[in-house]
Amino acid sequence: MKQGKQSWLFNNGVYIKGTATVSGPKERAGPLGQTFDYSYDDLYCEGKTWEQAEQNLLDQSIKICIEKSKIREDAIDLIISGDLLNQTVSSNYTARNYGNPFLGVFGACSTSMQTLAIGSSLVDSGNCDYVMASTSSHYSSAERQFRYPTEYGGQKPNTSTSTVTGAGSALISQERSSIQVEGATIGKVIDFGADDPLDLGSAMAPAAADTIVQHFTDFNSSPEDYDLILTGDLSSVGTPIVKKLAYQAGYDIENVHRDCGLMVYHSNQNTFAGGSGCAVSAVVTYGQIVQKLRSGELNKVLVVATGALLSPTIVQQKETIPCIAHGVVLKRVSES
């Protein structure tokens, strides 16, 4: 059901049946290392190329999610997935391993919540019984896609982020569980004229603030209604900006806000401004956040995944960087 201007309320009850997170070695060594279902010891993740590595991460997360959700693979009515590579090849190539209907989407690093929102809507409407919402990213495939191949050894400024090597999947259905997907707020494409592809935190912060403020308006809620408002990958550069913009709009999120990009790595792991990529919000949300919702440590969480919708070609043509953010509300409910 439409809620306010840009939001959806899932009236029929959409629940998370299971989630899975897979990571690379550096993420394993980070503060959330113990929350991942599986971690590869090597950046190649048993593949021959970085692109194969990313496919293996995604495939593994879907497999583990099916296993944890205790359903048959052919019961899944739709796999919906996206990633950062050209033509979203990681998702498309991984989907060929499965005999299920597939929708590929692109929302840059907002993909985790984009897939979860679309999937929840399809489950809510009854078009699908079971939907697998997935996303992946890989440090070296993303560097090659957006910056320089790592072999080139180009310098990175401190405002740049490090793409998280990982993948996350969530299986959603109308079968009641302890975590309900209550609603979603779909973001607008916002371009404040930022043009530095090595400082995406600043570029994405206005889009995140816009979606957060719109969410409060649409649901007639306030920051106090949430135990946690989680943004995707604004990093140490964008985090103060989103707090300031929300404050200027009349919402003080200082005490409830955290950024996934600042949660996955220790400060001494040489990741510059923090973690980024499609996987960052997925591995944090589907790992630690889901665990805390299940245990009752958290009751209501707004996850706002942020994406910078640039391509290397268009940045070289001196265009600015449009950004987007999608928010999804996860709520702890009683299982019966």
Binding site: L43, Y44, W50, T150, E151, G154
Partner: protein, 118 residues
């Protein structure tokens, strides 16, 4: 002797400082910095200045990529004097061919032995 080291360090270091400033302040990409330096070296050689810099600073001027631009122009000019217009094409890679060939050769050898770590 000590002063040779000193000036090589200062001049070579200063060229690198300019490159770092182009990256950090003027937001040029690494490829832009590299090609700007090659062009700058060629332009300076056109005015006969780069040879003087090499005389003064030695390796401080020959090691940075600016000397590649200087060598490109140098080779082209020498052949142009002998063969005219066509000499530019003949001579442009004459002095630099050793550098280019070894970059290809060593790149090839390293690629055979090692696997990128990411």
């Amino acid at each position: 002797m000590i002063m040779d080291f000193f000036w090589a360090f200062v001049v070579g270091g200063s060229i690198c400082v300019i490159g770092q400033l182009l990256l950090d302040i003027f937001k040029l990409t690494p490829a832009h910095v590299m090609s700007s330096f090659v062009v700058a070296g060629a332009v300076l050689d056109g005015f006969g200045l780069y040879d003087k810099l090499i005389e003064f600073a030695g390796a401080g001027a020959t090691v940075p990529i600016t000397s590649f631009g200087h060598s490109l122009l140098h080779g082209a000019m020498v052949q142009a004097e002998e063969h005219g217009f066509l000499g530019i094409a003949v001579g442009i890679f004459q002095l630099t061919s050793a550098g280019i060939a070894s970059a290809i050769l060593f790149g090839f050898l390293v690629a055979i032995i090692f696997k990128p770590k990411g």
